[in-house]
């Protein structure tokens, strides 16, 4: 079960929380066009490698919440950020709903609304600064040398930053930092 906290709201859903226009807004965004077709069969969730290990992450539930218009609950939810983008759900969905695309759309909206998990911002910052998602500790690098492994390739930080600037990515990451 998804915990109340992870869905960002009270246990009881109030009708006033529902934004009936939310699903239409979402369905206009590329990747999420078919959100309304979801009939809650659970194929996405049964297929999902994350859902197998996390009872909190149920893609089916996220789609249902969008259909109901539980906008703030969905966008503030931490589980949005668990999708690994393996696209198995997209492959298997009988209604051709691009579930991974919906998740991406929701994350973008969540960021616009000011929701971004600290860990994600950390990762993004690391990418912008070093070109790598993880900062590799010096001890690890030493071990590589000891094991006789070649040095890691250098990332092209300059190009990455340029790309992030052109796409507006760095702005988003930096704006939220201050």
């Amino acid at each position: 079960m998804v915990s109340e906290r992870s869905e960002g709201g009270e246990a009881v859903i109030k009708a006033t929380e529902m934004d009936p226009k939310f699903k239409y807004e979402i369905s206009k965004i590329p990747g999420a066009e078919k959100i309304m077709l979801c009939f809650q069969c659970g194929t996405c969730t049964a297929d999902c490698p994350i859902a197998r290990f996390s009872d909190a992450y149920r893609p089916r539930r996220i789609l249902r919440m969008v259909q109901l218009g539980l906008k703030s609950r969905v966008l503030s939810s931490d589980v949005l950020w668990l999708c690994a983008a393996c696209f198995t759900c997209v492959d298997r969905c009988p209604q051709d709903v691009e579930i991974a695309g919906v998740l991406r759309t929701l994350r973008n909206l969540a960021v616009k609304e000011g929701f971004m998990p600290a860990v994600y911002r950390e990762l993004a910052t690391s990418v912008l600064e070093t070109g790598l998602a993880y900062k590799i500790p010096a001890s690890r690098l030493r071990k590589r040398v000891e094991a006789g492994l070649p040095p890691l390739p250098k990332a092209d930080v300059k190009s990455i930053n340029k790309l992030a600037e052109v796409t507006g990515f760095s702005k988003i990451i930096q704006a939220r930092r201050t």
Binding site: M1, V2, K34, L37, F39, Q40, C41, G42, T43, T45, A46, D47, A51, R52, D55, R58, R60, R61, R92, C93, P94, Q95, D96
Partner: protein, 804 residues
């Protein structure tokens, strides 16, 4: 044409000048919520020749029709215009109203202000303006209407039934019992269809064979039934009441003197997977499809028989004691004359291989629900090791309820839920400690006794899991892993099963689409045959005197198929019982003094209805379908088409183009398929721009350069042709016509961008709508035609018209 001009008896001397009555329908808000019917009434009453204009809540109701009849009496009306729903809906109704008031029914014109106006537009102002245009067009056109009398022809009382499954068998029995001669044509070697393959039937658990085989025998032995197996319909011609059908009867290679002793089967060396057993067991190349097959006569599979493939063997022939094997049989062609046709061609199951995640074909214990029927009858043994399966998973909606193209179909198979519940219960009875699990999204138990059956299954410990199966994974020779989500709990589910049964979706049977084309029937968006009216003519096809029953119309169970079969028998008998049929008077006729016998019309006629005679050509009114292609092509104006004469066509164009919103798009829409398609857009509440206005024509081939010029002169800024894909004016002909017109238009200074065309089927209404949109977008760029240019075009039109 004796029935054209002189039929003025019913006119009672009222033809002095048109006295037109207009009746505008609210349709209980369907029209009046969007169209200001009172303003339409006001505008209409000012039109020339209009004596009275009225509105009514429901013009088609009794009081509505009485209002028309009274108005005809009171005001001495001799023409009637009704602005309401589509003529496809109520043209016949209102024609009868006119008849009952003593007016010739052809003195009626309808303006379609519902399907093609109020249902496709939202803006009240624009919709009202368009409704006024449509009414104006109808009024202008009706002024030129002449009384017409249909001709009558005797109806042949015999019936052809295509397909020998349960629907075809029941339809044949009903009709034969009523005294009609029935030709029952079946493609396979035996009648019986899918029902013969089933174990028990839900919800009563009747043995399928026990209730079916007596019917098979009865129909085959019926004195009024002639049965053709291994036979197919190759061609159909003629008209309702008098169809001529060409049947090809494929050779059986075994004569009827076969006593079905089975000796040949024992000797035959060739083994083939049995179609009847859905590939679970084998049959020989000479075989009887199943024990209760009708006819019992054996059959040789020519594709597999050694004699036909390699020219050797002939063991069956040598060992047949009855001397029944005859390897020299050839295809036989048989012509049948019938008055009506009943189509019961049934279904095929989808190919489960399209859904790789279910692993069909990868493991012997993954079977379809039809295969499980055979497994049930053979004593519940799983294919891998013939042991009784304990844990069995029934996977519902395999290929059904899917919008992914190429993987499945959108519709529900309608029987899958009940079949699975039935199979689960049969399994429990046969295998005491069996554990049937049903994985479902929704259990649809909406028939008589079905919900109760579902309850019984739950009481008997059939396990129901609400979640679609995501994956079936073989884990060893005998067992399979199933993954799903229990969506009620929101947890992932995994289980190991001995047998997995896929409830595979169903589609129209192979070959029916081609047959439909031959018969002039339409397919719906779901891929099944299309009924004339979903609610009120559910077993009539789009073509008169051709009826449909069973799964060919859409998924359903045996009970419903039987009901429909009985309904078709009733509908066919009603039609045949009339004894004679009236032929539409809307046919072409020659104006003898203008005809110089050039013969162009003979060449262009798509139905060979125009023939050369000594000094002029003649039109055969039975063969003529009234397409009007000859009228448009005649260089001397020597052919006219009843009910779509030059005067009528020009008047309707002028009426529609004169007022309303600019830029204006005029769509000439072919009267059958294309018009129904545009209507469907309204029924589906799709929408398009209100400056697109539709006018009905027999075919686009009726519309010549002069009419297009006239439309532009009268106020159109763009012209569109919409033609049905089954029209006699073929897609190719239309393309040629439009290319030619574009060339000509350029010569008159009209941009070829102002002309578009499309060929469509009924369900593909979005094709027409896309063209509408394209034209509106284009006109937004290139703008309207100037008044000065319109004057020039009118001159050009007049010159063209004088030359003819």
């Amino acid at each position: 044409m004796g029935w054209t001009m002189e039929g003025s008896l019913q006119l009672r001397g009222k033809l002095e000048g048109p006295r037109i009555g207009i009746f505008i329908c609210h349709c209980g808000g369907n029209i009046s919520d969007t169209v200001d019917v009172n303003r339409v009434k006001e505008e209409a009453s000012r039109l020339e020749g209009v004596v009275i204009a009225e509105t009514h809540e429901y013009v088609c109701s009794d009081p509505g029709q009485a209002m028309i009849v009274n108005a005809i009496e009171e005001h001495g009306l001799n023409r009637v215009v009704i602005a309401s729903c589509s003529p496809k809906m109520h043209l016949d109704t209102f024609r009868r109203t006119l008849s009952s008031a003593g007016l010739n029914p052809y003195l009626l014109e309808m303006a379609n202000v519902r399907e093609q106006c109020s249902w496709v537009h939202d803006d009240r102002e624009d919709a009202t303006s368009k409704a006024v245009d449509l009414v104006r067009s109808a009024v202008r056109r009706v002024r030129h209407h002449k009384p017409l009398e249909p001709k009558s022809m005797l109806i042949n009382r015999d019936v052809l039934v295509i397909g020998g499954g349960i629907a075809g068998i029941i339809a044949s029995i009903e009709l034969a019992d009523k005294g009609h001669r029935v030709y029952l044509v079946e493609r396979s070697p035996s009648i019986g269809g899918h029902m013969a393959q089933l174990s028990k039937t839900f919800p009563t658990l009747d043995c399928s064979q026990c209730i079916l085989t007596p019917k098979m025998v009865y129909v085959a032995q019926h004195p009024n039934v002639k049965l053709f197996t291994l036979s197919e319909v190759k061609a159909v011609e003629g008209s309702p009441g008098n169809y001529r059908v060409l049947i090809v009867k494929h050779p059986r290679y075994v004569e009827d003197c076969c006593v079905a002793c089975g000796e040949c089967e024992k000797r035959c060396p060739i083994k083939v997977p049995s179609e009847f057993e859905v590939g679970l067991t084998y049959r020989k190349a000479i075989y009887s499809p199943f024990k209760q097959a009708v006819p019992r006569t054996y059959v040789i599979d020519k594709e597999r028989c050694l004699y036909f493939t390699k020219g050797v063997c002939r063991l069956c022939e040598r060992f047949c004691k009855a001397n029944a094997v005859n390897l020299d049989q050839k295809d036989e062609f048989i012509e049948l004359d019938v008055g009506a046709i009943v189509v019961c061609t049934g279904y095929d199951q989808l190919d489960p291989n399209a859904l790789e995640e279910y692993g069909y074909g990868l493991h012997p214990n993954i079977v379809t629900n039809l295969q499980f029927e055979r497994i049930a009858l053979a004593g519940f043994k799983r294919p891998s090791d013939s042991k009784p399966p304990k844990k069995v998973a029934f996977v519902l909606c395999v290929g059904s309820r899917m919008t992914n193209e190429g993987k499945g179909v959108k519709h529900c198979c309608k029987i899958g839920c009940m079949v699975a519940i039935k199979q689960a219960m049969l399994l429990q009875k046969a295998v005491p400690d069996a554990e049937p699990w049903i994985f479902y999204m929704d259990v649809r138990a909406d028939g008589k006794g079905y919900e109760e059956f579902y309850m019984t299954a739950q009481e008997h410990n059939v396990r129901f899991v609400r979640g679609r199966v995501a994956q079936v994974v073989p884990i060893d020779e005998n067992r399979l892993l199933i993954q799903a989500e229990d969506t009620f709990l929101g947890t992932s589910f995994e289980g190991v099963f001995d047998l997995v049964v896929l409830s595979v979706g169903i589609v129209l049977s192979r070959g029916t689409a081609e047959l439909a084309k031959r018969l002039g029937m339409q397919l719906g968006a779901d891929g099944f045959l299309l009924e004339r009216h979903f609610k009120l003519k559910p077993v009539d096809s789009q073509r008169e005197a051709i009826f449909v029953a069973g799964v060919a119309l859409g998924p359903k169970d045996i009970r419903e198929s039987t009901l429909e079969a009985m309904a078709t028998a009733s509908r066919a008998a009603t039609f045949l019982g009339k004894g004679e049929i009236s032929l539409s008077p809307e046919v072409a006729y020659i104006i003898l003094e203008r005809c110089d016998n050039c013969g162009i019309c003979v060449e262009v006629c798509p139905t060979n209805a125009v023939e050369r005679a000594l000094s002029a050509v003649i039109v055969n009114p039975v063969a003529c379908v009234g397409c009007g292609i000859c009228v448009a092509r005649c260089p001397r104006g020597a052919i006219e088409l009843n009910h779509c004469t030059e005067d009528q066509l020009l008047a309707q164009i002028e009426g529609i183009c004169e007022g309303g919103v600019r830029p204006k798009v005029l769509a000439f829409v072919e009267r059958n398929t294309a018009y129904s398609s545009v209507d469907l857009a309204g029924q589906m509440r799709a929408s398009y721009q209100s400056n697109v206005e539709v006018t009905q024509v027999p075919t686009a081939g009726r519309v010549a350069l002069r009419h297009v010029l006239y439309a532009f002169a009268a106020g159109a800024d763009g012209v569109i042709f919409v033609e049905g894909d089954d029209s006699v004016f073929t897609e190719e002909a239309l393309r040629e016509h439009v290319t030619q017109l574009k060339k000509e238009l350029s010569r008159y200074g009209v941009s070829p961008l102002r002309l578009l065309s499309i060929t469509t089927t009924i369900p593909q209404y979005d094709k027409a709508l896309n063209v509408f949109e394209t034209m509106v977008a284009r006109l937004g760029k290139i703008g309207s035609i100037s008044e000065g240019d319109r004057l020039k075009l009118r001159k050009a039109f007049e010159e063209l018209n004088v030359i003819k």
